[in-house]
C-alpha cells in the first residue's frame, strides 16, 4: 500500500511504467475493471437478481470491455502537454509506432515490401549512375583531359584512332596541350613462374602517359624517356590486380621481372587499385618504344589522349587541331587527305554512349518509387480510419494537431526506414543481376557497387519517401472531426466522400504510371527482339572461336620482313591441317577478325583504275582470312570461287575475296573477278565475292570489305574458327592437344562459341531491356495491388448496401458486374492517362529503339489490353466476395 506521493513523481513513475511495462498497465486496468464488475454484480444482487442474472446484466451494462481497455491504454500513453523534450518524444513515438505496427503485421509486411521494391530499385540504379556517370575519373583534374580522335570525312566516321607519325606531329606542333600521350593495347603471352602460359592484355604507352593523366604508381615509378626509345631497356609497370594475385603483394616486386612474349621485362612500378584506363584496362604496361618512323602513317591503331594547357578551352584546342590536320593533309595527301582531328572530353568518350539509357532507367525506377508511395499512401489512408478513435482520444487529451502529425510522420519514417533497409538488400541482389548480365556491358562497371555513398543516398531517399506517402494521410488523420468517434456505441466506419475520391484518384495515377513504364519496356522488348531477328549474314550455331597470339620471340614478325613471316604461316598451315583432321570438325578457318568484330580500316587502291583525287585515300575494312572461311562461318560465295588450301601456301599468288558491299560500291556494273586490289604494297586478285556479313553489328550498314589471304598478309594474333555438328565446346580438348603438340607454350584465349559472341554484341540493348522489364513488372504488380486495395476497401465499406441490394432482388452477377465495372472504370481512366503520358515520355527513349517507333500502336494496344486484364482480375476477388454476401449477416446492425 503505497502512501500518497507528489504528483510530479507519480507522473514520472507512471510514464516510465507505461513506456516500459505496458503489460503491467494492462494488468492494472484489468484489475480495476474487474473490481468494478464485482461491485456492480453485488449491487444488482442486492436489488433482487439471481447471481447469474446479476452477472450477466453487469457485463451487459459494462459494454465493450476491449474498447474501454484500449481507450484507457491510449489515455495512459500520452504524456501531459508540458512534458517531454523532442528527443524523448521521438523515442516515444518510435516505440509507440513500432507497437502499432506489430498489432497489424499484415499491413506492415505489405508496406515494407512495397517500399523495399521502390527504394531498393532506386538504390541499385543510382549506384550504377553514380559509378558510371557521376564519380570522377581516377585522374588528376579529369575535366582537363581529352581524347583525341581523327575523323574520316569521306567515310563519314568521327571516331578513328591515330597513326603514330600523326601523333608525333601533333605532339610537336600543338600549342594548346600541356601533354599528349599515345597508347595501344595488344594480347601478349605471359610465361614463367609455375603457372601455365597466359594470354593477357598489355598496354603499350609512351612514357608520358601516366604524367599526362596525373597518376603515380603506388610503388616504384612510371617510365623514363630513355626507356621509351626503340631498343630501350625492357621494363614494365604492372597493374594492382597482377601485383596481388601473381606476386602476392610483394613489397620488393620492383626487383623482380616478368616474361612477356618470351622477353624479360624488369618491373619498375605498380599501379594503384583504382586506376583504370579507357574501356579495357591492361593488366600490364610497357613502353611503346617507338619513334615517328616506327609505324606507317596509314595505320590508325593508336589511342591518343591529351591534357589541356592551363587556361585553354576546348574550342581553342579544337581549332589548333584542325590547323594541324589541315597542314598534314597538304603535306601527306596519300595518307591524310580528308582526315580531320578533334578533341572530345575524356569522360564524354567513356560514358557518352550509355548516358541516355541510364537516364531512362533512372526515370523509370523513379516512377516505380512513385507508384510504391501511392500504394502505401492508400494503405495508410485506409488504416487511418481504423485509428480515428485512438487519435480522437489523444486529441481530447490535449495533443495538438502538430503533435499528432509528428507522431504519424514518425510512424511513416519508421516504415520508410524498414523499407529502406530491406531495399538495400534488394539492391545488392539487383546489382548481382546487373553484373551477371554482362561484366562489361557498362563502362566503368567496376565502380558499380553498394558503398557508403549509395547508403547515404538510400537514407535520404527513405526520408523523402516517408514524406511523400505519409504526409497526406497524416494531415487527413490529424484533422478529422475528432469528437465524432467518442460518441457512445457508434461504429464510425463512415468514409467521407472526399477520402474515397482521393484513394480512387491515387489508384488511377498508379495505373497510369504503370502503363507508361510497361509501354517503355514493351518497346525495348520489341526492339531487342528485332535486333535478334536481324540476319547477321553468318550462321553462328556450332562454331567454336578462340584467339591465339604467336609471340615474336619464337615467330619472327619484324616489320622489315613483312609479308615474309615463314614461321607464322607455317604454324597456321599446320594448325589448320591438324584441326581439320579431327573427325567431328566439319570446317575450320583462321581469321584476323571473327564475324562479330568490327576490325580496322586501311587505305587501298583498285589497280588500273584512274581514281578521282578525292577517292584516292579511301579506307576499307581489311579482314584477313584463310581458306575455308566462308564454309566455317556459314556464308556463301555468290560469285567466283572459294579460297582453297593452295592459297594458304606462302608463295601462292596473292588473292582476296571481297564482300557484296565492296562490289556494289566500287565495281558495280562490272564483273569484280579479275580486278586487283592494292594495299600495303601488294596487289591481290579478286577471285570471289562473298555474302555480306554484319560485322559492325545489327544496326549499322555493312561497309565494303576485302578479305586477303593469310599467307600473303600474315598476323601473329588471330582467331581460330571451328565448325562442328553438335556442341562446339566438345572439340575443345582435342584442339588443345593439337595446339599443344605444335607449341607447348602457347596459351588459348577468348575461348567461346560464336553464338556467345553474337549474343555479346547485343549485350547493351539486352541490359536495357531486362532492367526496364523488371521495373515494369514491379510497377504492374504494385498497380494491381493498388486497384485491389481500393476496390476491396470500397466493398468492405458497403457490405450493408450490398446486402440491401441482394435482398431486394439483385443477382450475384449484378453485384459482380457493378464491382468489376467500378474497378475497370478506374483501370480505363488510368490506362487512358497512361497512354497519353507514354506518348510523351517514350520520345525520350527513341535513341534506344530499333525497328520500332516510339508511338508503336501494336505495343500500346497490347499494353492497354494487358493492364485492363490485370485490373479486371484484381477487382475480381473483391467482386466475388461482394456477390457472395449473405444479406442477413450484412444487414445485421452491430
Amino acid at each position: 500500500m503505497s502512501p500518497w506521493v507528489s504528483p510530479l513523481w507519480s507522473r514520472l513513475v507512471r510514464r516510465l511504467r507505461s513506456v516500459l511495462l505496458s503489460r503491467s498497465v494492462r494488468g492494472e486496468i484489468e484489475r480495476e475493471l474487474g473490481e468494478h464488475l464485482e461491485q456492480l454484480t453485488r449491487q444488482l444482487m442486492e436489488e433482487g437478481m439471481s447471481p447469474a442474472q446479476a452477472r450477466r446484466e453487469a457485463v451487459r451494462r459494462f459494454g465493450n470491455l476491449e474498447k474501454i481497455r484500449s481507450e484507457c491504454l491510449a489515455a495512459r500513453d500520452v504524456p501531459a502537454r508540458s512534458e517531454g523534450s523532442v528527443l524523448t518524444d521521438l523515442g516515444h513515438d518510435l516505440l509507440y509506432g513500432w507497437r502499432m505496427l506489430r498489432r497489424s503485421p499484415g499491413f506492415a509486411v505489405i508496406v515494407v515490401i512495397t517500399l523495399a521494391l521502390g527504394i531498393g530499385g532506386n538504390a541499385a540504379i543510382f549506384s550504377i549512375v553514380d559509378g558510371v556517370l557521376l564519380r570522377p575519373l581516377p585522374y588528376q583534374q579529369p575535366s582537363r583531359l581529352v581524347r583525341l580522335w581523327q575523323a574520316d570525312r569521306l567515310n563519314n566516321t568521327r571516331f578513328e584512332n591515330f597513326s603514330l607519325p600523326d601523333y608525333f606531329d601533333v605532339k610537336e606542333g600543338n600549342s594548346t596541350f600541356s601533354g599528349i600521350a599515345a597508347s595501344r593495347v595488344g594480347n601478349v603471352t605471359l610465361t614463367g613462374g609455375d603457372t601455365e602460359p597466359q594470354l593477357i592484355l598489355a598496354g603499350f604507352a609512351t612514357h608520358d602517359l601516366f604524367s599526362v593523366l596525373g597518376v603515380t604508381p603506388i610503388r616504384g615509378r612510371g617510365f623514363l624517356p630513355e626507356e621509351d626509345i626503340p631498343g630501350g631497356e625492357s621494363v614494365a609497370v604492372i597493374g594492382h590486380e597482377m601485383w596481388v594475385t601473381r606476386f602476392g603483394g610483394d613489397p620488393g616486386v620492383t626487383d623482380r621481372s616478368l616474361i612477356l612474349d618470351g622477353e624479360s621485362h624488369r618491373i619498375v612500378g605498380v599501379m594503384g587499385r583504382d586506376f583504370s584506363y579507357l574501356t579495357n584496362t591492361p593488366q600490364v604496361w610497357v613502353p611503346l618504344q617507338a619513334g615517328p618512323t616506327s609505324a606507317s602513317r596509314g595505320v590508325h591503331s593508336f589511342r591518343v589522349i591529351g591534357r589541356l594547357a592551363p587556361g585553354v578551352g576546348l574550342t581553342q584546342a579544337a581549332d589548333n587541331l584542325s590547323t594541324i590536320a589541315a597542314a598534314l593533309e597538304k603535306e601527306y595527301p596519300n595518307d591524310n587527305l580528308n582526315r580531320g582531328m578533334w578533341p572530345q572530353p575524356l569522360r564524354e568518350s567513356l560514358v557518352g554512349d550509355v548516358r541516355p539509357a541510364l537516364l531512362v532507367l533512372l526515370g523509370a525506377v523513379g516512377l516505380v518509387l512513385l507508384i510504391a508511395c501511392v500504394n502505401v499512401a492508400n494503405l495508410l489512408l485506409a488504416r487511418g480510419q481504423v485509428r480515428d478513435r485512438e487519435l480522437a482520444v489523444r486529441a481530447a487529451l490535449g495533443a495538438g494537431r502538430a503533435r499528432l502529425l509528428r507522431q504519424l510522420m514518425t510512424e511513416s519514417a519508421l516504415l520508410a526506414g524498414l523499407g529502406g533497409a530491406a531495399g538495400v538488400g534488394m539492391a545488392v541482389a539487383g546489382l548481382r543481376l546487373v553484373h551477371w548480365l554482362g561484366p562489361s556491358v557498362l563502362p566503368r562497371q567496376g565502380n558499380v557497387a553498394i558503398d557508403s555513398r549509395i547508403l547515404a543516398f538510400t537514407l535520404v531517399l527513405a526520408l523523402v519517401t516517408a514524406v511523400l506517402f505519409g504526409l497526406v494521410p497524416a494531415l487527413r488523420s490529424s484533422a478529422t472531426d475528432l469528437q465524432q468517434p467518442l460518441k457512445q456505441g457508434t461504429r464510425t466506419m463512415t468514409s467521407s466522400r472526399g477520402s474515397r475520391r482521393l484513394r480512387r484518384s491515387l489508384a488511377v495515377v498508379q495505373v497510369a504510371l504503370a502503363v507508361a513504364l510497361i509501354t517503355g519496356a514493351g518497346l525495348l522488348i520489341r526492339s531487342f527482339w528485332r535486333l535478334n531477328q536481324v540476319d547477321m549474314g553468318f550462321r553462328a550455331d556450332g562454331v567454336l572461336v578462340l584467339n591465339l597470339v604467336l609471340p615474336a620471340s619464337r615467330y619472327p614478325q619484324t616489320r622489315g620482313d613483312w609479308p615474309d613471316f615463314p614461321e607464322v604461316v607455317a604454324f597456321q598451315r599446320d594448325l589448320l591441317e591438324q584441326v581439320r583432321n579431327i573427325p567431328e570438325v566439319r570446317a575450320a578457318a583462321i581469321a584476323l577478325n571473327s564475324p562479330t568484330a568490327s576490325g580496322w580500316t586501311t587505305r587501298f587502291q583498285i589497280e588500273g583504275r584512274p581514281l578521282p583525287t578525292d577517292r584516292q585515300l579511301e579506307e576499307i575494312r581489311i579482314r584477313t582470312v584463310s581458306s575455308g572461311y566462308p564454309e566455317t562461318v556459314g556464308i556463301s560465295v555468290v560469285r567466283g570461287r572459294h579460297l582453297e588450301p593452295r592459297d594458304d601456301q606462302p608463295n601462292s599468288p596473292p588473292v582476296a575475296l571481297v564482300n557484296e558491299a565492296f562490289a556494289e560500291r566500287y565495281l558495280s556494273g562490272e564483273d569484280p573477278l579479275g580486278h586487283r586490289v592494292i594495299n600495303w604494297g601488294i596487289s591481290r586478285e579478286i577471285v570471289g565475292v562473298i555474302q555480306d556479313v554484319r560485322f559492325m553489328g545489327p544496326q549499322a550498314p555493312v561497309p565494303p570489305a576485302v578479305y586477303p589471304t593469310f599467307a600473303r598478309m600474315p598476323f601473329g594474333g588471330f582467331n581460330l574458327l571451328v565448325r562442328t555438328d553438335g556442341n562446339p565446346m566438345e572439340v575443345l580438348p582435342q584442339i588443345r592437344t593439337v595446339v599443344g603438340s605444335l607449341d607447348g607454350q602457347l596459351p588459348l584465349a577468348g575461348v567461346g562459341t560464336l553464338k556467345e559472341r553474337r549474343s555479346a554484341q547485343v549485350a547493351q540493348p539486352r541490359f536495357n531491356m531486362v532492367l526496364l522489364s523488371v521495373f515494369a513488372a514491379v510497377a504492374m504488380i504494385l498497380a494491381a495491388v493498388g486497384i485491389y486495395g481500393v476496390v476491396a476497401y470500397g466493398v468492405s465499406q458497403r457490405i450493408q448496401e450490398m446486402g440491401v441490394r441482394i435482398s431486394l432482388g439483385a443477382t450475384r452477377t449484378d453485384i459482380l458486374r457493378q464491382v468489376v465495372g467500378q474497378g475497370l472504370a478506374l483501370g480505363v481512366i488510368g490506362a487512358a492517362a497512361g497512354v497519353a503520358g507514354s506518348l510523351f515520355l517514350t520520345r525520350t527513349m527513341s535513341g534506344l529503339l530499333f525497328g520500332v517507333g516510339a508511338m508503336d500502336p501494336t505495343t500500346l494496344g497490347t499494353v492497354v489490353i494487358l493492364v485492363l486484364t490485370v485490373t479486371g482480375l484484381a477487382t475480381l476477388l473483391p467482386a466475388l466476395r461482394a456477390s457472395r454476401v449473405d444479406p442477413v449477416t450484412a444487414l445485421r446492425v452491430e
Binding site: W4, L33, Q39, G63, I68, A75
Partner: protein, 110 residues
C-alpha cells in the same frame, strides 16, 4: 450519460468527478455509484466514459492514485485529488457558475 452534446459532457464529467473526490478517496465504481445516487438516477455514467475520463485526469495530474483494499476486501484502485486537482476544481466551478449564469440571463430574457 446520454449525451446530447459530447463536448459539454466531457468537461462536465470531469468537474463532477473532481467535486466528488474533494470529499475523500473513492474507487471507480464508487464514483459512478455516487453520481447516480446524488442525482436520483438522473445522471448515469457508463463505464465506457468513466474510466477513460479517470485515466485522462490521472494523466493530467489532477488525480492521484493508490492501491488499497475495497469494501469487499479486494485490491482496488482509489482516486483522490492532487493539489493541481483542487486548483482545477476551483477554476472549473467558477467557470461553470459564470457560464450557467450567462445562459440563464438569456433564457430568462425571452
Amino acid at each position: 450519460m446520454t449525451p446530447n452534446n459530447p463536448e459539454r459532457l466531457h468537461g462536465t464529467l470531469e468537474l463532477l468527478i473532481l467535486k466528488l473526490l474533494e470529499q475523500g478517496q473513492m474507487n471507480g465504481y464508487a464514483i459512478g455509484r455516487r453520481i447516480q445516487d446524488l442525482t436520483n438516477r438522473e445522471l448515469i455514467v457508463e463505464e465506457g466514459s468513466l474510466y477513460p475520463a479517470l485515466y485522462r485526469m490521472q494523466r493530467k495530474g489532477w488525480l492521484k492514485t493508490r492501491w488499497g483494499v475495497s469494501e469487499n476486501n479486494r485490491r482496488a484502485k482509489f482516486y483522490g485529488l492532487s493539489r493541481a486537482g483542487r486548483r482545477r476544481l476551483e477554476r472549473e466551478t467558477a467557470d461553470w457558475s459564470s457560464f450557467t449564469a450567462a445562459v440563464n440571463k438569456i433564457l430568462r430574457s425571452a
